[in-house]
């Protein structure tokens, strides 16, 4: 439980951090909240030669509405995201997810940018940013670029980020009229990783036709999965029992789970079906103005 030797840097500015990242490319790990990296280092699963601690950089933890988007700083911690009135109002599924990540300590220390960059297949933010069609602002000493959530996740623990790049912001498109969502997961016990998680963002018009739909699946593949076929089944349709059942089937097919100690692959597909149905139901109730709890099943 004692990490291997490493060099530690604590840059004072973003520029300094990007400079260090460029200088130590491939040998350095970025430390933000440390909720995953530090345990991995203590188990010596991760043995980075250099650690660049960006956890105390200022100005990277904002949560604000800007230019029709919700701009969330990469260092925003989970707990403030759960509590933010702006987030709860505009994108309640983000508050759902933030409230069920790990335990209280993890939510107080862990950051949204760190969690996304880590790309744990069972992470909660992955399905949420996929459902929301969010973009990630990424900076390096070479400049700035924006990566769509769908392009970001490449493999388990692997992303489109270059080794000198930092995620600095999560940009969520402003929800259209009546749009809302829900995130649900089942875990073996409080604080555990999801056995499966489903994020839904939708808008239904006055005729009951689904105008907007985003579905993200977590913990059922090497990366979080955007359930595009299920989305296509629902988009532009009335949400009848048959349509919902078809979408749930499609999402279960799009999932690529493996059997592990948390459950069989068949079980995880069943969970995708069950959680998708329930998340849609919660989102619909929320769109009617009801206060509904989500997060955990």
């Amino acid at each position: 439980m004692f990490p291997a030797r490493f060099d530690y840097f604590r840059p004072q500015t973003l520029e300094e951090a990007l400079g260090l990242l460029q200088e130590h490319q491939g040998e350095a790990k970025v430390l933000a909240g440390g909720m995953s990296l530090i345990p991995l280092m203590k188990l010596r699963v991760a043995k980075p030669a250099r650690l660049i601690d960006i956890g105390r950089l200022s100005g990277l933890d904002g949560i604000e509405a800007r230019d029709g988007e919700l701009a969330i700083g990469a260092l925003a911690r989970h707990a403030p995201l759960e509590e933010s009135p702006l987030v709860r109002e505009a994108v309640p599924l983000m508050a759902d997810a933030a409230g069920v990540i790990g335990d209280t300590q993890v939510r107080n220390w862990g950051t949204i940018g760190g969690a996304l960059a880590e790309a744990d297949p069972a992470g909660d933010w992955g399905p949420v940013v996929l459902a929301l069609n969010a973009r990630l602002r990424c900076l390096s000493a070479r400049g700035e670029r924006f990566i769509a959530a769908r392009e970001f996740f490449r493999d388990a623990y692997a992303t489109a980020l270059a080794s000198d790049e930092l995620v600095t912001q999560v940009l969520v498109p402003g929800p259209g009229p009546g749009a809302t969502g829900a995130y649900l997961k089942l875990e073996r016990k409080a604080g555990d990783f999801a056995i499966a998680g489903v994020a839904v963002q939708l808008a239904v018009d006055e005729q009951g036709v689904c105008r907007e739909i985003g579905i993200g699946l977590g913990a059922v593949g090497l990366t979080p999965i955007k359930a595009v076929q299920a989305e296509a089944i629902l988009r532009g349709q009335r949400l009848s029992e048959a349509t919902l059942a078809d979408a749930a089937e499609a999402a279960a097919r799009e999932a690529e789970p493996v059997s592990d100690i948390r459950g069989s692959a068949a079980f995880k597909r069943d969970l995708v079906r069950a959680l998708l149905r329930r998340a849609i139901e919660i989102a619909l109730r929320r769109s009617r103005g009801e206060q509904v709890e989500a997060g955990h099943v």
Binding site: R44, A190, I261, R262, A266, F267, L271, V297
Partner: protein
Amino acid sequence: MSDSGREAGGHGATRSSGRQVGLALPRKEDIDLLTGRGTYVGDLQLPGMLWAAIYRSPMPHARLRRVDLEKAAGLPGVVLVLSGRELPDYVVPLSPFPFQSRDPFRAGNPTIKFPDHFCLARDKVRFVGEPVAAVVATDKYIAEDAVELVEADFDPLPPVVDPEEALKPGAPLLYNDWGDNLFLRFRVGADGEEAFRQADLVIRERIRSSRFTGTPIEPRGILARYEPTDRLLTIWSSTQIPHILSTLLEDTLRIPGLKVRVIAPRIGGGFGQKWGYYPEESLIPLLAILSGRPVKWIETRSEHMMATIHARDQIHDLEAAVTKDGRILGLRDRIIADAGVAYPVGGLASIVTTSMFVPGAYKIRHYQAEVRAVTTNKAPYGAHRGFGKADACFAIERLVQRVADRLGLDPAEVRFRNFIQPEDFPYISATGSRYDSGNYPAALTKALELAEYEKWRQEQARLREQGRYLGIGIGLMVEPSSSTRMGSYNSGYYSVTLRIDPMGRVFVLTGGNDEGQGHATTISQLVADELGVPFDDILVIEGDTLECPYGSGSYASRFSVVGASAVILAARQMREKVLKIAAVLLGEPEATLTMETSRIFVKDRPEKAVTLVDVAKTAYYAIFRLPEGVEPELLLTYHYRDPNVGFQPDEHGRVPMFSTFPYDANVAVVEVIPDTGQVKILKYVSVHDCGNMINPAIVQGQHVGALVHGLGGAMYEEIIYDETGQLLTGSFKDYFVPTAMEVPNFILDHLVTPNPFTPGGFKGAGETGTVGPPPVLCNAVEDALKPLGIKVQKLPLSPSSIRDAIREALPRAG
């Protein structure tokens, strides 16, 4: 090496007079523990102290070809490296004795084997996590760096993972000279042919439990110091058995004239796992001897999961001879236990215990069991809260559920028809134990009332109409306490030394040990009452083999049985001596005197008095005033022998080895959510009887903790090896220990049937709760899923296993 201010004041809730026993007093220990002042092995520092780390086998089963420690030794800061082949000649294999006496197994027992395991593997490794080499360095970081530089070559051997496969001819062998993988075969009980002839039907069931274990907050830890001039080895160890450890070490490290002192400081939970004799317990002292400096090792959680004992994991093939009205006339059980590697850690005793107690709370006169412990390439099998008894209760309480289902009877009614009745006590069981006391029908009746059983049965019927799955589970678990194994270190006595100093302060030194049970508080309550001294004048000292009388430590919930009895009788003897001296000082007959709050007075003339200090000063300084035959000083040692155990098994292996029989009636109401497989516990009732209670708050704390422990085994915790023998649950990321979020709001009640065989009437209280939740929740889930015809086959009750069963059953059920 005691805690700072261990007896600090501030116990405002204590009474200055009147009986203390039976009061829910706040624990003396809590101020230190809650303010971070408890001293654990991990807190200890000695000058010049070094750190050890252990290279463990990554292979489940392999020949050890070569261990190269050159690179590790070359790392700056590394002081010593050691492999199994470099062990000094004075190191002998870990002794199975006195953990496992051969004697109790002789009757009816053709097979028991004891292999020679050294503290480091020499030729072969037999489980993932087996110690192979050790490094000692100036700090813990360097020690772990050095472990990464150890190079070991293995020739893999086929792993033995499944215990039933392991028994087949031609299976790979862990110990070649054994010729098979059978560690122990033991038979108990007489043939019940007659019962099976009389039966209306024979019900056969296979009941299987899972591998699970204790997870103390503090894993194991050892600090060792060797002083060569005196040949004195001092060990600070997180152990339940300091005296036994000292004896075992003197027996394993055969340095002429070696004396071992073991000190168990604060222990962060034991749960049976610290009742073993592990390789590290001789390895770390050996490293201290070899390096000439104090050496410390603190187990990591990952090491704990792979190398500290596992438990449960039994297969029971049961046959019950039953009548149509649900009476069980006879029972046969064939038990297979997956015993892991054959270390001397007490697992065999737990397996034998299982075989003794399968009849449980029921008057089953014809009972026969055969138990086979099978060695496999897994961590050793050992003691775990509920020691073998949990497995017995799991089998019988699941079987009774199946009997009720088969006969279409109410499972509560089947229990009432088979219970040992209150007038049957003391009851001699089919395996020779004498059950002390109890009232099982009353306990279950109370539990059913508290659970509102009839109301929930109606609710169940109503919800079934709507396609919802509500279930009710019942169990009455008898959990024998305070064990004795004749001829083993666990020899059925408990010693207490009582000392009153010249200022009247009372020191109680016991041969026991505290891993969190609250002995300082309960012993103070007992002594305050029996002796007549203030609670806060009493200091309890345990866990130091140099200071305390010899004893076998804490296990089998024995303190409140034999420990408390020894304390009471020691205090009575001391009181007699004090009154004798006071009689001289007061010039009054001894029989007219009494003592309260350290004041001795004539019963009907309270003003005629002396103080305990007056008496104590006489005993130490004015010995010329002592009456004839009274020795100087106020010091005595009392040895209490358990009167309700036996030492000689009969020809059927029957012997009373547990002395008291607390029990717990549980009723659970659950709803199973069919599409997610979740089990929601709507209600959980426990009616517990541990006889008289010394401190009801402590009993409640232990009982709730135990229920949660059992809930873990029922629904969350499972140690899993894959088919190659690799451990899949090596950390808390994968081994799911329940948190407060998972714990239902237990509804608790107590019944008190005092133990007639001890002076205080107490029974054991620390383990009973662990036993109920696995069978009771399985019964509840099976009851809920009855419309689908699902039989719960495995623990834990994970959403996946339940949903998988439902998915398979749904097409069948239409």
